[in-house]
Symmetry: C2
Subunit: 542 residues, 2 copies
């Protein structure tokens, strides 16, 4: 077991007492300022300097250079620390809001703080952050910290552009068009539509909304009041955002029919078809079937081809949520998991998950050309003037449910450009290999570790069974109740100490279990072994 470096909270708190004083300069790590000085500016100290010394308030670039150089040096230090696998995921562990209020002065004052205090605050943010890019952060969003994404985000924020019109973001719009076309080609679609959305939940909302519009184009104008009674059918293991979308569009959760998956987490085509028939017998119109490629907890892939044939038979829109598993399309070894995708109507795919692109980057793709404009168009004349001197179909703003839209494409494009098709295939295959290694390791640790199932993808689900539970009847209620408390307690201890993080949850009739997703390319087999040791160390006395 490695020794975890423990930092002293008083370091942080001492700094904070300075931060309230306006007389003593803050104690920034000297190397940050020294490096900044050496590089780009003769100014050694930002104490007393304010935003008025920055561009554009000052026309002199010196302070701007020193300030941004200090920010860069700070993040380089953070990145270097992150690369030390033995460093903690949360320095000093997770704290309460009141404790963070002791460390930070969150309040806004009448007079702004100087740039030294700004830098002090940003350094504190890095010091106290939950380091999701750390190789031993094996929680939701364990995609690591990708340097190409990071570079892209710096450029994106510098150009501070907006996707809504071609005239302000011509290159980014061309880039998005290219990237979405690549993604659709991987789906096996000749044509289609799509957009980058702020997350998978919004992508799924687009899918539900578009399916409704496809079935009932006059709802946009007239509303649902006098429409036929409609329902959606989804797998019970679909992401909860599909139910939220149903609530949002006025369908109501009661009109979402959930089909139980089988033991492997896959919903069966026959069960979907049965529900379609039952709904039809009740005079309900099924306008949407939703299944998943890579379910949230188990990582299961519903049988797309089988269900697509059923949906074609009944002429029902089929949506596949591949927010997590869509990236399986990137390797020839895994793309078969999505067989039949060429026959579906819409597909959610989040590069910010398995492709390690920084949050937020989610694609909603449609196997129907030009459909989004019909669904969402409002033709706001102040923004999408019909008399522009360029082809107005290049303005993407009127096909989205947003108006202004952040540039999410550059980080994806740059990462894909740099890694290439081969690099991403290798990425997916390495993660799968690590998942397999983790699964075998966990299995070998029986009876203290118990796996839930042979992992269909990268998700590895298992229980830790402490010595105290080894001799209790595993079918008893006592066993269930006690086992249910084990994973939360271990996670609490992990987070309080800060050494690592692994997610857990209940599912169906199962008590709380760990779901380890190693989607960070920085995570090594050694880190995986350490994770197993840590769980045992934190859990053996429970």
């Amino acid at each position: 077991m490695s020794t975890i470096t423990k930092l002293n909270i008083t370091q942080i708190e001492d700094g904070r007492s300075n931060s309230k004083s306006t007389k003593t300069p803050l104690s920034l790590s000297s190397d940050l300022i020294i490096n900044a000085t050496n590089c780009l500016s003769p100014t050694t100290d930002l104490h007393g300097r304010t935003y008025k010394d920055l561009i554009p308030y000052s026309s002199d670039m010196n302070i701007t250079k020193t300030f941004l150089q200090a920010i860069l040096n700070m993040i380089l230090k953070y990145i270097e620390e992150l690369n030390d696998h033995e460093s903690p995921v949360i320095k000093n562990g997770l704290r309460t809001p009141n404790e963070y209020r002791q460390i930070f002065n969150f309040d806004i004052d009448q007079k702004g703080v100087d740039l030294n205090e700004i830098l002090y605050n940003t350094e504190q943010i890095l010091q106290t952050s939950v380091r999701s890019g750390h190789p031993r952060f094996i929680n939701q969003l364990s995609q690591g910290l990708d340097m190409l994404s990071l570079a892209a985000e710096i450029i994106t924020s510098t150009t501070n552009s907006n996707m809504f019109t071609y005239e302000v973001a011509p290159v980014y719009n061309c880039m998005e068009e290219t990237v979405l076309r690549y993604m659709r080609e991987l789906c096996g679609w000749k044509n289609g539509d799509g957009v980058l959305a702020p997350g998978g939940a919004v992508s799924n909302l687009y899918a539900v909304l578009t399916a409704r519009h496809y079935a009932y184009p006059d709802i946009k104008q007239r509303g649902v009041m006098n429409s036929p009674r409609t329902v959606m059918i989804i797998s019970k293991h679909c992401h909860y955002s599909l139910k939220r979308a149903a609530a949002l569009i006025g369908l109501g959760i009661d009109h979402v029919i959930e089909v139980n998956p089988d033991q492997t987490g896959r919903v069966r085509g026959q069960d979907i078809e049965n529900q379609i028939c039952i709904a039809q017998q009740q005079g309900l119109k099924v306008f949407f079937v939703g299944i998943t490629a890579g379910t949230t907890v188990l990582g299961a892939f519903d049988p797309i081809d089988e269900i697509a044939q059923i949906c074609q038979k009944y002429n029902i829109w089929l949506h596949v949520d591949g927010a997590w598993g869509g990236s399986a399309l990137l390797s020839s070894k895994t793309k078969h998991l999505l067989n039949g995708l060429n026959k579906v109507d819409s597909f959610t795919w989040n590069p910010h998950k398995l492709m390690s692109v920084h949050l937020q980057c989610s694609a909603i793709l449609f196997n129907h050309p030009n459909i989004l404009m019909n669904v969402n168009e409002m033709s706001a004349g102040y923004l999408f003037q019909p008399d522009k001197h360029y082809e107005i179909t290049l303005d993407t703003g009127d096909k989205t449910i947003q108006c202004g839209r952040h540039v999410d494409v550059l980080k994806l494009w740059l990462a894909w450009k740099g890694k290439g098709i081969d690099g991403y295939a290798e990425h997916v295959e390495t993660l799968l290999e690590n998942a397999r290694f983790l699964y075998e390791k966990v299995k070998s640790k029986a009876p203290y570790f118990l796996t839930l199932m042979d992992p269909p993808f990268i998700n590895v689900c298992f229980w830790y069974i402490p010595p105290s539970l080894q001799n209790i009847d595993s079918t008893s209620l006592e066993y269930y109740n006690r086992l249910d408390k084990i994973a939360p307690k271990i996670k609490e201890r992990m987070m309080t100490s800060g050494v690592m993080m692994v997610g857990y949850q209940r599912l169906d009739h199962y008590p709380n279990f760990f779901r380890a997703i190693v989607s960070n390319p920085a995570t090594t087999k050694h880190d995986i072994e350490i994770m197993i040791e840590q769980i045992h160390m934190f859990g053996k006395d429970l």
Copy 2:
């Protein structure tokens, strides 16, 4: 008239021909690499280096440092150029997608490109970008380039966090809570709820959705099918996203009643009340009234206090869209424009507009505590485990319509922290002073310039009347048709040359006119004079 520096497109195109060659190293500006070398790394050349030489693929920090230093040097150069008011807004002017496809190789190749080519691409992006931070970019989103926002975005992307749970973003969640509380206090609310959303359109969607839930809490579960017939009443000058929200939630655009504003762009309380009465007589339930603080085109402020009293009388949810004008609350000289805000139910306010915070940062605020959780909660057990060791109300994910959510708060917090309450008051007052200067200048240029109205806020709306139209009857159809083509043609010429950008649009019965919004603190009175000269120069022969 200043001389605009014209750059040579062959510089870009020559570079591009290199980019297709795998043999010749790309010609990056030498100062970028030289600076990077001097600062942080002995490596002089990234040619042949790939992402595999970066963290975490390599454990050596050297290449990562050189690479990110080059990115920083690149953006510093961009920022310095931006500060040269005489430089063009779009170097070489706006081009067609095919022309950008000539400059860039958007395609993803089997094998990734090296880091030199990555840097080459990012430099080209900066070279070809439409420089929205430029002092003479007076189009939508003219908020400038804010160094505190930029620094915050670099830190945000480095921590690559997610707002959905406290456990992964504790400090950012505490920060968001503070900032939203400040904003609510400025609204005059003692209590309430809110969240940062991906843009004003989504904020307005939250408002409509929440108002519906407040009136009919069972719609979430049962859907709207058997609910009473409902309508929304909005001003005709409200942002189009309110109608889009109506389409989205299943209400339908037909159930949005639009009230015409008066000549000053303000909707009258009496007209709203009349529509409420008519709707009630028809048996329709009005669940939502939407008005605006700072309309998109004219910048008009609807009389909030008057309309709030009417809504209280009829017990109807009142939403104010202050995406643009909400920031008037920041100065004691303008906050009276929002008198009565203490009585409304919800309020949209985009710091990414008038507060110069980088895109995307929009707040939706509610004058109702804990309301969002009721509206949106789905209690997904895998993410919002009920048995966490901390207070689960700190997890904001279950009150949003997103699941994962980008950290939008740091850029707002850091900018506010650095500028202080006084700094933002001064910011708003300076922009107003510039708007007043612009208005007076435009008025003084009659008969070639004709103002639409005395500006209620920062928006200054006017026509350019070229000499050829001076002697035509201004009430004739010919005059309307010819004048309608003037602003588009002038803007086309501006964009083709790249020197500057000013927005235009039609409104109601008015032919196309310019709407100049100077919300960039970098824009000077001299820039404003240049803008007027440029419009005349581009338009006088039309």
